[in-house]
Amino acid sequence: MNLLLLIFLPLGAAAPVYLLRRYWTAAVSVSVATILALIGICARTPLGQTGYLLGRELFLDDLNRFLLLLFYVLAGLMILYTWRCPQGWAFCPCLLAILGLLSGAMLIRTFLIAVFLLEMAALIFVFMIHGRRPAPTGTALGYLVPQVLAAPCLLLLPWLFESFTLHPENALLIRFAVIALSLGFGILLAAAPFHSWLPAAVQGAPPMAGALLICIFSQVNLALVIGVIGDNPWLATDAPTLSVISTSGVLTALIGGLFAFGQRQPGRLLAYAAISDMGFVLVGLGTGSLSGITAALAHSVNRSLAVLLVAMSMGALGSHLKRGTASTLREALRQTPGGTLGYIAGGLALGGFPLFNGFATRWLVYRSLTEFDALFLGALVLSGVGVVLGYLRSWSVMLEGSSETGEEREPLMVTVIILSLASLCLLLGLVPGLLVTPLHDILQGIALVGPGV
């Protein structure tokens, strides 16, 4: 029952929140109450509890609970932020509906149904792309088409797995399975060379919608990848899946870093920085070892925090920094203290600058590589440098401000949320064990190849 509540409570709450959209504070209050209820239910549900949806089993394990709690907290922060910086009428109801569907995708054990739920959540996201003013239609279509095309690749996987179980001698099935897996998840995770939809979507959509795409959708996809390989160990042992993931990871990190260096538009820069970070995550995952997977997941959590921080700061600077009034850092700090500090801290965290959380988990990814991966190491370091330099270059653009600002000063609530997130990024950078140790314990049984370094 509890597991069904995690799916149907946010789905059910989406309708009243939509109806209350003209009474913004009431809509935000209902949304926050729903998120708090979800956190309570998820935290109190005993591990190993099962339920049934469409006749298929739902199951709550350690990793699911950790990730779901993370999603709910991130979603709660997004909703609180939108209270003071509205992101369009559709944001709160769509976010709740998406949370319900993604919870279902995480909990359900049947991969086929999980992919359907994920696809539905991705389709609902289309309604969030237009924020307070319409985004270019090309942006929405550029997002919609890859999502629809990726799903069939993943929906074929269960049939291919079943066929392989019946005909283990058929090497062609292994090849098809790896191709389908790489194509499907490659598109959804925006891994190179299928990354081009993400920068356009993040630039065109409101900042919180872009953050949702990177912070929550990517994590669910990642959890599904780990689940698929864990359930079908032959993908790691008999097929070149892990080497495909590693190679794609290095390529993704490198392309993300290089493109981030060349970007001056903040939305695109954020997306390329996130793509570069996804490369690190994939490299860690591609090692197949316990230390590598732990590093990958920890880095993806840190990536979510840093991306949310940058997106919130970007939104605050865009909404509250008037064009022509803040030519110096001091003036920007006076008008938008949270946005200014958050943008600097988030950019450094995303680029893996020492002392920030991005550095700590990047270091873990480097350590999980074996001695033969010097080329990988060089490419990864280069990508991090590209992101940091990209953020330094973008600073002048952010200081220009916007001519469409509403209020002069940044609201206190926004400042508090941004500074709290920045402090958390710094804390996790100084004490990475706070995140890595619990994740390591959770992942004990999930090493795909061996214990690793």
Partner: protein, 221 residues
């Protein structure tokens, strides 16, 4: 529901060749013609033909669900196009000029490109379906699947507006739905495929409405 079932049962008597020809024509109409009414009728016919094709290999009620949900997607798109006066700007107000312009606008500008591409896709689909069938099913399941997937992708690639892209995506989904239905015959999966199709139609309707309502902002952005 029973009447629809009877209708589908009656249509099952269509020969394999007639069904394939029907799918070929409907796919080509969506790819080549620009008139939204013709496109929607072709899409509707395509859903019915796919349902008839599937009724030979999966339970009738599952095939029927696919037809009903396909029709609902068409209704959503029809209402959106009507409400937004889709394509109204291109039409002349009266007389013989209206007739000439309507006839010209029914065909896309690059007809000489689209028609050969559609023919090529049909030939390739037929060859692939014969040489590399996805499943050991008779009745041209693989050919139909290859054709709808390829023509759907072509429509998406060649389209400029969300309405046409939506038609392409729904055609692509119909093709993939044939393949999926032969692997997974359960009612719940058919319902989920239907929900995905409905969400695609809703998303396309929303994007079409936004594009029509805010053309200036869209151009500026």
């Amino acid at each position: 529901m029973d009447a629809l079932g009877d209708l589908l049962t009656a249509l099952v008597s269509l020969s394999h060749l007639e069904l394939m020809l029907g799918l070929l024509i409907t796919g080509a109409v969506i790819l080549v013609l620009e008139d939204w009414r013709l496109n929607l009728w072709a899409l509707m016919a395509q859903f019915v033909l796919v349902g008839v094709l599937l009724a030979r290999v999966i339970p009738l009620r599952v095939a029927l669900i696919k037809v009903i949900i396909g029709s609902m997607a068409c209704v959503i798109l029809y209402l959106t196009a009507r409400r937004m006066h889709w394509g109204k700007g291109k039409e002349a107000n009266h007389g013989w000029r209206k007739l000439i312009l309507a006839g010209r606008d029914a065909f896309s500008m690059n007809l000489s490109f689209r028609l050969p591409v559609a023919l090529l896709a049909a030939v390739v689909s037929y060859a692939l379906g014969n040489r590399h069938p996805f499943v050991d099913q008779p009745y041209g399941i693989s050919e139909a699947c290859y054709w709808l997937v390829s023509v759907g992708l072509l429509i998406v690639v060649l389209a400029r507006d969300p309405f046409k892209v939506g038609l392409g995506l729904l055609t692509f989904q119909a093709g993939f739905g044939i393949l999926l239905a032969t692997f997974e015959e359960s009612l719940s999966v058919a319902a989920l495929v239907g929900m995905v199709n409905l969400l695609i139609a809703l998303a396309v309707a929303y994007l079409t409405a936004t594009q029509t309502a805010f053309p200036a902002e869209d151009d500026q952005a």
